[in-house]
Symmetry: C2
Subunit: 494 residues, 2 copies
Amino acid sequence: MKVELLREYMSKMCDLNHAVQLMQWDLKTKAPKNAVDTHIAAISTLSTESFKMSISDQVKDFIETFEHDEKLDDIMKKSLKDLKRTYERSKNIPEKLYNEYTSHTAKSEMVWEEAKRNNDFESFRPYLEKIVVYNKEMAAHIDSNQNVYDVMLDNFETGLSSDKINNLFEELKKGIVPLVESISHKERVDDSKLLGNFEEYKQKELSEYILKYIGYDFDCGRLDKSEHPFTTGTAPYDVRVTTRYDKKDIKSCLFGVIHEGGHGIYEQNISPSLIKTPLAVGTCMGIHESQSRLYENILGKNIRFWEPIYSKVGEIFPEFKAIELELFHKAINIVEPSLIRVEADELTYNLHIILRFELEKDLFTGDLQVKDLPQAWREKMKKYLGIVPKTDTDGVLQDCHWADGSFGYFPSYALGNIYGGQFAAQMEKEVGTIDYLLKEQRLDIIKDWLRNNIHRFGKMKTSAELIKDVCKSDIDVKPIIDYYQNKYSRLYHL
Amino acid sequence: MKVELLREYMSKMCDLNHAVQLMQWDLKTKAPKNAVDTHIAAISTLSTESFKMSISDQVKDFIETFEHDEKLDDIMKKSLKDLKRTYERSKNIPEKLYNEYTSHTAKSEMVWEEAKRNNDFESFRPYLEKIVVYNKEMAAHIDSNQNVYDVMLDNFETGLSSDKINNLFEELKKGIVPLVESISHKERVDDSKLLGNFEEYKQKELSEYILKYIGYDFDCGRLDKSEHPFTTGTAPYDVRVTTRYDKKDIKSCLFGVIHEGGHGIYEQNISPSLIKTPLAVGTCMGIHESQSRLYENILGKNIRFWEPIYSKVGEIFPEFKAIELELFHKAINIVEPSLIRVEADELTYNLHIILRFELEKDLFTGDLQVKDLPQAWREKMKKYLGIVPKTDTDGVLQDCHWADGSFGYFPSYALGNIYGGQFAAQMEKEVGTIDYLLKEQRLDIIKDWLRNNIHRFGKMKTSAELIKDVCKSDIDVKPIIDYYQNKYSRLYHL
């Protein structure tokens, strides 16, 4: 068999996925109201087609033929390895189970939306219980030797066990909880002056300016509006970001855009040599979040980031001319316990994630029942953040990830912070301090460093390999803790 | 074999085409600059997949199994008939020839663009010659019993031979040429007052207003900007139209939008019962053009169309308050010979089409050689329009349809005018005069009549069946000629 056949096969899978990505983007940004059902049907047909290709006998043949073929180049070797991993993990899932599960999560997402709106956990409970059961069953088909939650973590973060994550998160907690505690005794800065009435087209103008400023390439992407911000596309030539506009508060749009810009820059800088293989994507969710959070927080919430371009904000929104950069900087860095994850500050965000990780873990060991989730949620909120949601809408029902079955996804967010801390520290060693680079507007040096060390490899390296190659170390919580302590000690005069 | 299998098969083909349509729309409206190549590759892969499905052994089985199955419902019978027609016409085309032809036309389109830019027919000539040869060869594989040009006409207008079209066009010429001649002796109205500086977002606002006014449904569609206006989508729930904006002249956008709106209304009103079959599209190009041209010309260029909404134009563009409706109406109905088809008026437009039809026909009978096309073009322009292009850019090189191999496509435009004349006359008999309906703003009655008589059937009826069922007659040139004579006699006091 010729390797060309394998190339063609992968290429066809990529083209199917290309179409799926575009339809999904369209669904969330452009599709007319009544097109939703037919759009979803087409997405489902093409996804199934691609899934079937990933577990076909043809793939098995490819694996058997080429697995030990030393003549394959590196890209093809890694591609085959990726195909094999998907094949091994999916081949034993009974089609009936897969279809039942897919249609159940589609339903449960709708039930969850309604339940969230009505603060009615009980209506959602049986659906969530069933999702947990399905996930246990699927995990057994994927790998019966691993514990269930580890199998699910593996969907998002290859090779990291829940024990390992637990250790990392314990360390993270130890660094963060005292910091949050100290800050809570300080006076809160008054940020009410930052609120106003900000027209959407002006927010868009500023967003585009900032995206270009950080190095997002509009020849290979675009910015649109959607209910929840996201990044999607077919890397590297078409990577689209979205944002939402809060009329009263530009912070939500600004940092959303910088965050998605970080995801976008990652995918735009994947090596074109990986196109038409399964490797032309970010290697995993954790590394992806490391890039978006590095841009959003470590760069975007640094006063030196804004110094050279703050006048641009005032140009587009003259009301900001009356707001001193120092106040703006303090306002975007307010640390305070809050109920909603996606609105949390840089520091307490981690605690929101740790809470979810611990609950997920207990759900799958059997230490926690779905019916006891709301109470467990409240207890952990009290413990880590000192506040308790009055409703489940602001508590256990706030996120969509459990409703759509994505258990194991949450940890990636905090892992992203840890990885981002490591990368930032290493970058500072190699090309200069972030303060200096930002002040000198050398976002290009930052992007080049990230591209050379991380982006261009796509899925050629796992997260562990990337961290080892770039930082010469294992996963390490210390750099992000150092960064937090350093930053917030100065900001809050701790 | 169960009929469910046939349904699933058609459904999958529809979903593939759904994705292709969306990617093509995206390519022309939203895709970032650097995404073009990967987008085209994905479009090509999915189109090929759909084409392969249309000539597969599975389709052959379906035809053999169900062709004489009286239990099939009407929709399935017609769907199977359509599948069969495609199968029969495509199955004998050698794959090698098909691929060669596809890649040749892709290349020749690029060569044509360059040739048009440089007024250099000679550089394009060998490519066009090869396209003619390829088309002859393909036609022989499709149906060796028919003459070549008839086979090609059949791609766009099922069942109409070139002889029949020739007769229709002779009649059309006889009606039009004297009218144009008479008008040429009249003074041209001064329409310079209609030119100005019209901001794009205001043109968009007016376009949306007018689309809604004529009955285009934004819950099942949207309006975007593109270099050339077009309508696409997946009927009936997602049918998108585009327009372009000429800063100096709003006419181009206004009538482009009404034209595409006509196409869009057609597809939006196809019966939902045809979804997931090959029948949920307009039945052929001629009927499609009949709808767009009926809206654009017979309705949109009638003074009664504008009377109730002309104040809206002045609201959005205050400069129009100084322009009397009578002048506006005269300006949008100026008849004068011109070089460029897409800018021609309602009347002379037909002559541009007839000229192209006659040249196409002669090319395929062998009466005309490609090398003699430019001269033949000039002679016919002189004969029918009394003017001669100074360059081939404004002559034989102006359209893309020959470069992309779409011989047989042009006649649909003029057939659309003929059909539109018949439909309009019949509608007036059944629900009241167009003048009256427009004056009373009963665009809903017009749309309902078109939906009930034409739109909802999609491809369930051929153009001949539609005309017979709606107008109780064959194709008939008289109604459109009567309309032209009536309209232009009054307008120009002939």
